[in-house]
Assembly symmetry: C2
Homo-oligomer: 233 residues x 2
């Protein structure tokens, strides 16, 4: 994977509005499509790390109740199809037909789904898909407890889009955990601009007309790659 | 990509029923999800061929009015995102909101969309996504004309799932064209069992529980690959 020197960062309102625009009738995407590609890129990041010598096999995907959690659920299905051993932690029941379909797909792939806190130390890697770019403080139950626990675990963490609980524009203002890895989706958010770990980007679906309309500097993915490493920005 | 020695083939009714089962409430997939992964795997096949030395850049995607055509439209969007120059040939207007959303996504990626016959010789590669596993003879307007023309063109052809117009179980009984390349989706159909060109498989989403339920011998994809070459079966 080639590395980049420049990319556009989004603030919170831009992130939300761009998501809405992608799913407008004009542009035509559905949440299913975008989440499928996002979740796949998360799973591909782990395969990439394993290719480089890591042995992430037993993976707990921590999922919140929104789209960030949905991306996590989709990534768990892909990881299982890739031959790894993902499990999902939901922390509470989510009564949402869209979410339940994604969970059914995981059940049909024999992915264990937990509703209670798990021992994070039992896993090779944690995927943090609890809170995404729509988060506004404060942290709320039942997600506060696992987020605080991420600060003390020795298990490496891959955060999806923004580490859960971070301010989407200001970053880690609450002295929460810092993950080893981050995968930004579509474009990175302002709050991760000074993130020092390994930073990937996924979600290769920004339509050319919208790149132009917003003058976005977009990732220069190679070949059919679904991810790109941004760490050396 | 590793090559296989054995795989399950589906007859027409199995293909249709399996598709329905994937999208049942129990299993939980939507057409959007399956088509996204199918279309992506078609595009990835072309990137793979280019990696091996081909120079397929200007590509015409011939799309029928059903799901095979939808897979083609999605592949065109991915090809454009991959930096190639795909165009879509539809042969007639399709009044279907689902289809129109997929086309809007292509329009936002500046993919030209044609409604009339095109000169096939102007392209480096043709993707045949006209008719799929639900086809029953005879060939009907306006798709008969491009299908007959595929027999005389010098431009190489990649067929999606089954060459258009072939009997899904008996193969090329009507003396139609034979493509250079084929990408079977999910599992290959009986009608392509004696296909002698380069044969890929994509659609890496068969849930583990359904693999077991039907005793399917499924493709052994590697890493995060979305395609696998079956030619040496």
């Amino acid at each position: 994977m080639q590395q980049l020197t420049k990319i556009s960062y989004l603030n919170q309102i831009q992130s939300q509005q761009f998501d809405i625009e992608l799913m407008s009738e004009d542009v035509g995407f559905t949440l299913d499509q975008l989440m499928e590609l996002a979740g796949q890129s998360i799973a591909n990041t782990i395969i990439q790390l394993n290719k480089e010598g890591k042995s992430y096999n037993k993976i707990l995907v921590l999922c919140g109740p929104g789209n960030n959690g949905g991306d996590g659920i989709v990534s768990a299905r892909h990881l299982k199809q890739f031959g790894l051993q993902p499990e999902i932690a939901l922390f509470r029941e989510v009564k949402n037909p869209f979410f339940n379909r994604l969970l059914n797909q995981c059940k049909y792939n024999l992915v264990p789904i937990h509703y209670e806190m798990q021992d994070f130390e039992k896993y090779d890697l944690l995927i943090d898909a609890i809170l995404g770019f729509s988060f506004k403080p404060p942290l709320r139950e039942p997600y506060d407890k696992p987020i605080y626990q991420l600060k003390t675990t020795k298990t490496p963490i891959l955060s999806v889009d923004i580490p859960s609980g971070w301010d989407v524009e200001q970053g880690n203002t609450q002295d929460l955990f810092t993950p080893e890895y981050l995968i930004s989706l579509t474009l990175p958010k302002l709050g991760v601009k000074s993130f020092k770990g390994r930073h990937f980007i996924g979600g290769r679906f920004i339509p050319l007309k919208l790149q132009e309309k917003y003058n976005f500097i977009v990732p220069q993915y190679q070949g059919s790659d679904t991810i790109l490493e941004l760490s050396n920005l």
